[in-house]
């Protein structure tokens, strides 16, 4: 609270994520990513300006809540200093927020919504069907599921059992995987949905084991059971060195390795971004994150970080366009819409006409000796 | 006779309702003292104060020369000041034996407890017959015997009895009163509350009359029995108590 700072004009980056209760494991690491981006931006902010995080929680009583999400977006929209919002985390919250964002012109960039219909149809853009205000930096389920299926194929898997967490992301991913894997000639032995927040999957896995699969495909995140499913496979009679485990970016976190422990090896997963390890910026991000929050990054920390960077960049650009004067939200929106060739720790991307990321790269990873190990990456759009 | 229990200027409240207005009373060693009064006069409240179940707003309870006003009920019981409460309060889902054992909760010598148990069974042979029956399935009279027996198991110095004859058949009422007299003869001091004032005063040495939270009379039992006021208010004219 120094006078110099007080004189700076504040540009707010809104955040709408679930950060309390059970959903804290989703929201907090993601929000941390945003915080980091904003702090970094302030080290080189345009003169006379200062970025601030305005973070709202969309969980009520510990569970993400679409009502709360819509309310938050309205609140943020009512504050002219907010130039854009990073969020939401959950697709059904997005379904309630997109109409509000669309109506009020407040840009929304989701780090994690992967449900294709959110962008690909106009049904949520009720006020202005042809204005895009909702964007995302992650690939949609259809892209990733397909990549997963191809990956499975290249691994030589023939019989796969599909399990998902019965949430929008996990179910969507698993469905696409199942469809594509079958189309590619693979056989799906069964498809089961688990209930999030469960601890015991042995009954299901015993049943899975009895079908003798080559691999289990898991659609979902570590916190909804991705790690436990893998870890309990052994005790249900599936040798993890023989039965592989395939999933999406929901299990691309250190937690997965810790929870699955011995069984983590021989797991494979897709990530909807190029290999971050190859870019120095990602390394410094991971280091900075660890230093500040004393924990490993979450599955969507990097996406939160990048989403915030997109808004910050658009705001900075607007300021430049305005000759150092304060940006207006509509201008910022326009600049976000025009984002292209944006270099980030999750790759270089822009937004297409629906607001989806143009980054077509899906990276394939495995876990070897208890460590994440890059396999290769494929450009999905090239196909 | 030495004073065993003394209440000094007790005020007691339920929320904002004052149930006792500065009452004072005394029980000497070896006595049977009757406390009579109409419904809601505060008799039960008095016993609750003595046993520590209700904290008085003012006043003191002195027992064996010591102030026990602030002691918790279990510590008061530990001093052999025992109450058989209104409504019997049997542990319904425990057997007769367990109920009696709980009566001896504060006692440590197993042989003495066994002796007391035998004593109770001599007083109430019926309880011995029902030793493994659940308290809740006993008939009203049997429950009353159990309540008194349970109180005796703690080897009371002073026994507070709250309406021991309530709901009992005439025959059992006689039995209970003779048992009370018996217990007293064995050296237990007794403070007795009874609606059945006539009989209570017949076995008591002294008595107090409580009216809406105030002690209005105190005298020897014989004098109270003879008193016109007591007769009119508590002994009844036309209705002869059994």
């Amino acid at each position: 609270f120094t006078p110099a700072q007080a004189a700076d004009q504040v540009i707010k980056i809104g955040v709408d994520l679930p950060v309390s209760g059970a959903d804290a494991s989703d929201g907090i690491p993601t929000q941390n990513g945003v915080t980091l981006a904003v702090e970094e931006a302030n080290t080189h902010a345009p003169k006379g300006f200062k970025f601030e995080v305005d973070a709202l929680d969309d969980a009520v009583g510990g569970v993400h809540n679409p009502q709360q999400g819509a309310t938050n977006i309205r609140s943020l929209a009512a504050d002219p200093a907010v130039m854009g919002v990073v969020g939401p985390f959950n697709s059904n919250v997005a379904a309630a927020e997109i109409p509000v964002s669309n109506e009020s012109g407040l840009p929304l960039i989701s780090p994690s919504n992967t449900n294709p219909t959110l962008t690909k149809t106009a049904k949520y853009r009720t006020a202005h069907p042809d204005v895009i205000t909702y964007f995302r930096v992650c690939a949609t389920d259809d892209v990733q599921g397909k990549a997963g299926a191809e990956f499975a194929k290249t691994l030589g898997l023939k019989k796969v059992y599909v399990i998902d967490d019965n949430e929008t992301y996990g179910l969507g991913l698993a469905n696409v995987f199942e469809k594509d894997f079958k189309e590619m000639g693979g056989s799906v032995l069964g498809h089961d949905h688990i209930t999030a927040n469960q601890q015991d999957f042995k009954a299901l896995l015993t049943k899975v084991a009895s079908t003798h699969p080559d691999a289990v495909y898991y659609g979902g995140t570590t916190s909804t059971g991705g790690g436990l499913v893998r870890q309990q496979m052994a005790s249900a009679g599936m040798d993890p060195t023989k039965v592989k485990y395939v999933g999406g970016d929901g299990i691309s976190d250190e937690e997965f390795i810790k929870v699955a422990s011995d069984a983590a090896n021989n797991s494979y997963y897709t990530v909807a971004a190029p290999n971050a390890a190859k870019s120095a910026s990602a390394q410094s991000f991971i280091k900075a994150y660890k230093a500040k929050f004393h924990s490993d990054i979450g599955a969507y920390s990097a996406n939160g970080y990048v989403a915030a960077q997109v808004i910050i960049a658009a705001a900075e650009k607007t300021i430049k366009q305005n000759g150092g004067k304060a940006p207006a939200r509509a201008q910022v929106l326009k600049n976000i819409q025009n984002t292209s060739g944006f270099k980030s720790i999750i790759g270089t991307f822009g937004f297409d006409k629906n607001g989806d990321t143009t980054s077509p790269v899906i990276a394939l990873w495995t876990i070897k000796d208890g460590k994440q190990d890059f396999v290769h990456q494929i450009n999905v759009s090239a196909k | 006779m030495a004073t065993l229990l003394e209440l000094r200027q007790i005020d007691a409240f339920y929320g904002r309702i004052q149930a006792l207005h500065g009452i004072s009373l005394r029980v000497d060693k070896g006595e049977v003292v009757a406390l009579i009064g109409s419904n809601g006069a505060g008799k039960t409240t008095t016993l609750r104060v003595i046993s520590g179940l209700l904290r008085p707003a003012h006043g003191q309870v002195i027992y064996e020369g010591q102030d026990i006003t602030r002691l918790s009920p279990d510590l008061i019981v530990g001093r052999r000041l025992i109450q058989s409460p209104e409504g019997r309060r049997i542990f319904a889902r425990m057997t007769v034996l367990e109920n009696l054992q709980l009566g001896a909760y504060t006692r440590t010598s197993l042989t003495e407890v066994a002796e007391s148990l035998e004593e109770v069974f001599t007083l109430f042979p019926r309880l011995k017959e029902r030793i493994n029956q659940k308290g809740g399935t006993l008939s009203g009279g049997e429950q009353q015997m159990l309540a008194i027996g349970r109180a005796l198991m703690s080897k009371p110095e002073l026994l507070l009895l709250d309406e021991p004859s309530l709901g009992l058949s005439p025959l059992l009422v006689q039995t209970i009163f003779s048992i009370i007299r018996d217990i007293n003869k064995r050296g237990v001091t007794i403070l007795l509350i009874e609606q059945n004032a006539r009989q209570a005063l017949q076995i008591a040495h002294r008595g107090y009359v409580l009216e809406t939270g105030n002690i209005t009379m105190q005298d020897t039992a014989a004098n109270l029995l003879a008193s016109e006021e007591v007769r009119a208010a508590y002994l009844g004219g036309s209705v002869k108590a059994s």
Binding site: - | I17, S38, N39, G40, L138, S139, G140, G141, E142, E163, L166, G167, L168, S169, P170, L171, L172, Q174, Q195, A197, A232, A233, Y234, L235, G236, G237, S238, V239, K240, A241, S242
Partner: protein
Amino acid sequence: MAFFALKNVTKSFGGLVAVKTVSYEVQPGQIAAMIGPNGAGKSTAFNLVTGLYVPTSGEIEFNGQSIGGKKPDFVCKLGIARTFQNIRLFAFMTAVENVMAGRHVRMGAMLWDSLLHTPKQRAEERHVREKAMELLRFVKLERHADDYAHNLPYGFQRRLEIARALASDPTLLLLDEPAAGMNPREKEDLMELIRAIRDRGTTVFLIEHDMGLVMNISERIAVLDHGEKIAEGTPAEIRADSRVIEAYLGKSA
């Protein structure tokens, strides 16, 4: 057909036979009593009548109808009301609300009326309140109409329970130990009240251990022991019955 009759009624709980082939008839306009040692089965008999228990065998007749095994609310509707051995008032309702609740079964307001407070409903409420006040006056509790039942002294609670029972316009009133815990003075008042109830046209059937009261007001007495009826007759007959003396009254009575 009898006004009210127990016909060979038996009730057993597991192995225990609480009421054993008891037959007993109460005439309209009577004050009848049932006495007997603790655990004789008196309260159980009442519970059978009001539908709390289903008889193991036997018939209970009321106004020509068989009511054994019927639900309490149905029995109440037919015109039998009761009080309880341990007072069961609606503790945190006021006295007048207690009595109004007792009137429930004689009211006609339907869900619709309750939801919208139709004029019909309002008129009925007014009427029921008046009726309840009248009953409170009858039991001399009008001054306590707005007191919570819980805060009333014991004796008053007993009377309130009677008023509540009377609110359903019963033709038969069952009282289970109405004088328990009352002092002699209060018992005298109670006797007067019971007589007045009878005089209003309600038949009274009571259970009581207070022989002064029982002998004084009842016209007929049944004596139960170990679930069986061991005697029946006028107070004088009962007092002289050696079996009753031995089982129940004791020598001093």
